[in-house]
């Protein structure tokens, strides 16, 4: 679905992303992890066509991205930012209706089909009944759900999400993650929580603007790699309730205050 070859991106003479290549298969959930400033967001924005790569080549559904109109990209691919806010007094329905933008123009006005897409998108994120609520009255988790509904109203084949759970409490983090997995779309998601990253089909690890590891989570998240990238020591535990692997993180230097998550 997505094929990136040797992508790099420079800003102000400084290389933010170095020759990065990856592919995302249809229906696959790819997680991007890495410390702050490692280039996750930049890579996502390149994949979304929001930034133009300084060099390299990008294909979306077999077509070169730089030859596609912004509008055609938006019909195939939806992007959910970390935190997109507005001071306008809009309703939930207004926000989700924005997702229909790439399908409408002055000659093709709003129709009942668009109404159906909006209602369906709201139902998929479990926000039906919220249509008339004001944006400012929503909680952070609800706002992120509405953003995902807006993205779904675009009827995309690919979803890109930039740390969508970053500002949420643990309950909403888990429910948004579950929601994203249940969408069954080709998905690229930047993540902070390494344990949440374990449920992705494949993971890409970003470090200093490079993709340094790429593959299934179990094979990639080795103690050596985590020590190098995140500067933490990892011990692995097994959850007795379902046998899944849990990582416990400790500072590299034991003499520092021990805090485990």
């Amino acid at each position: 679905m997505i094929r990136a070859t040797d992508l790099s991106w420079r800003a102000g003479g400084k290389a933010i992303l170095h020759g990065t290549s990856l592919t995302v298969a249809k229906g696959e959930v790819l997680g991007l992890i890495g410390p702050n400033g490692s280039g996750k967001s930049t890579l996502l924005r390149l994949l979304a066509g929001l930034l133009k790569p300084s060099s390299g080549h990008l294909e979306l559904a077999g077509r070169p991205l730089d030859r596609m109109r912004q509008r055609d990209i938006a019909r195939l691919l939806a992007f959910v930012a970390q935190q997109a806010e507005t001071s306008d007094r809009i309703s939930v329905r207004d926000a989700v209706e924005l997702g229909r933008t790439p399908w409408l123009d002055a000659l093709r006005p709003w129709s009942e089909e668009d109404d159906r897409h909006v209602a369906h998108a709201l139902a998929r994120v479990g926000m039906q009944g919220f249509e008339t609520r004001d944006w400012i009255t929503l909680s952070g988790g609800e706002r992120q759900r509405v953003h995902i509904a807006r993205a779904l109203a675009q009827c995309p084949k690919v979803m890109l999400l930039d740390e969508p759970t970053n500002h949420l409490d643990i309950h909403h983090q888990l429910s948004i993650m579950q929601l994203v997995l249940d969408l069954k779309l080709t998905t690229v998601i930047a993540l902070h929580d390494l344990n949440q990253a374990m449920i992705c089909d494949r993971l890409g690890v970003m470090h200093h603007g490079r993709l340094i590891a790429f593959g299934p989570p179990a094979g990639i998240l080795t103690p050596e790699l985590l020590e190098r990238v995140f500067a933490v020591r990892v011990t692995e535990l097994t959850d007795p309730s379902d046998g899944s692997r849990i990582m416990r993180f400790l500072p590299l230097n034991r003499k520092e205050t021990i805090c485990a998550f």
């Binding site: 001071s87 924005l98 933008t101």
Partner: protein, 354 residues
């Protein structure tokens, strides 16, 4: 809420006809009021007879002075006021939406000041005071001013965030001051006393001496702006969550910004070259319209256009009857209303951002 949805979904035919009727009534009633009310009150029947004479050669026998006042003085004045109000209000909507800034308007961002400088340069340096070259000069000034203000805002670290919102307004104030000073400098250096007095009066926003040539220019500019704004109404909606979000919704952001700002600057320049810079319309009217019909541009653009038209015609009437025997510059009236409303917006903006 229900109102806010009307523009975006299929509605019943009866409702549409109802809206069509009252909008048409306002479109006729507002200029009519502008013609009838003034130092000498003219009955509506006389106005209608003059129109009948002019359009259909009805042959009513009328006082030629009344006819002259109506046809050559008050009607062009009312039409220019209406067109100008429409254009400034829609410019305000466009700038506020594109810049994600509740305080953006052509006046505060220095576009009007730049247009004034350009127009005065043409008038004083002597290409002549005909409407078209003055508009061209005004357009040059308007684009230069906006370019400088945008550049300054960017260099001062402005973006679309909260801090950026402050930066562009500060840059706009600096730009306005600079261009107003340049205008004064031009006048002091090149104009004689008589010219200087006339230009200063015009700069405050003035509809005296409006001719039919000006009417066509003003209406054409307002119409073009309105059409372009309508064409881009979904793109303007898409900026709700910022420029990046608009891009991810398939809006060619750079292209839309260039087209809309160019057309806004053009409309502002035309209006400034005819009436001088009239403040606060572009700022206040969009907020009033948002309060009434919500933030979606399918309704916000026409509502702002309509309110702007009525507001400026009303302001023109006020400017003629507030002081008996004297006409105030219309900019004075709009500022008298606009400044307090501006204060209210500032206070409300604070409570929202908390």
């Amino acid at each position: 809420m229900t109102l806010a949805l009307i523009g975006t979904r299929p509605r019943r035919r009866g409702l549409r006809a109802f809206h069509g009727i009252w909008i048409a009534l306002i479109l006729i009633a507002a200029p009519l009021a502008g013609i009838c009310i003034g130092e000498t009150r003219i009955p509506v029947s006389t106005v209608l007879q003059v129109m009948a004479n002019r359009f259909w050669d009805a042959g009513y026998v009328l006082d030629p002075i009344d006819e002259g006042i109506i046809w050559s003085y008050r009607l062009p004045r009312a039409l220019v006021a209406g067109g100008c109000g429409t254009a400034l209000a829609v410019c305000g909507v466009i700038l506020q939406s594109l810049l994600r800034n509740a305080l953006a308007d052509p006046y505060l961002l220095g576009i009007s000041a730049g247009a004034s400088t350009g127009a005065v340069l043409i008038a004083v340096v002597g290409v002549g005071a005909a409407a078209v070259p003055m508009s061209a000069g005004a357009l040059g000034g308007a684009l230069l001013a906006f370019g400088l203000v945008a550049l300054l805002a960017r260099m001062a670290g402005g973006g679309t965030g909260l801090r950026g919102a402050g930066q562009i307004i500060l840059a706009g104030i600096a730009g306005s001051q600079l261009f107003n000073a340049m205008t004064s400098f031009l006048i002091a250096r090149s104009a004689n006393a008589e010219q200087a007095r006339g230009i200063m009066y015009w700069l405050l926003g003035n509809l005296s001496g409006v001719r039919w040539d000006d009417v066509w220019l003003a209406l054409a500019a307002a119409m073009l702006l309105l059409i372009v704004a309508f064409w881009h109404m979904r793109a303007l909606d898409a900026f709700t969550f910022g420029a990046e979000s608009a891009a991810s919704l398939g809006v060619p952001v750079r292209q839309v910004q260039v087209v809309l700002i160019l057309v806004s600057a053009m409309a502002t320049a035309v209006m400034v070259s005819i009436t001088g810079s009239i403040g606060f319309v572009g700022l206040v009217v969009p907020h009033a319209a948002r309060f009434l019909v919500g933030v979606r541009h399918a309704l916000l653009v026409p509502a702002s256009a309509l309110i702007g038209m009525v507001f400026l015609i009303a302001a023109d009437i006020m400017s003629r009857i507030m002081i008996p025997g004297q006409t105030l510059p219309i900019g004075v009236v709009t500022a008298l209303v606009g400044a307090p409303v501006f204060a209210v917006i500032l206070i409300r903006a604070r409570t929202v951002s908390r």
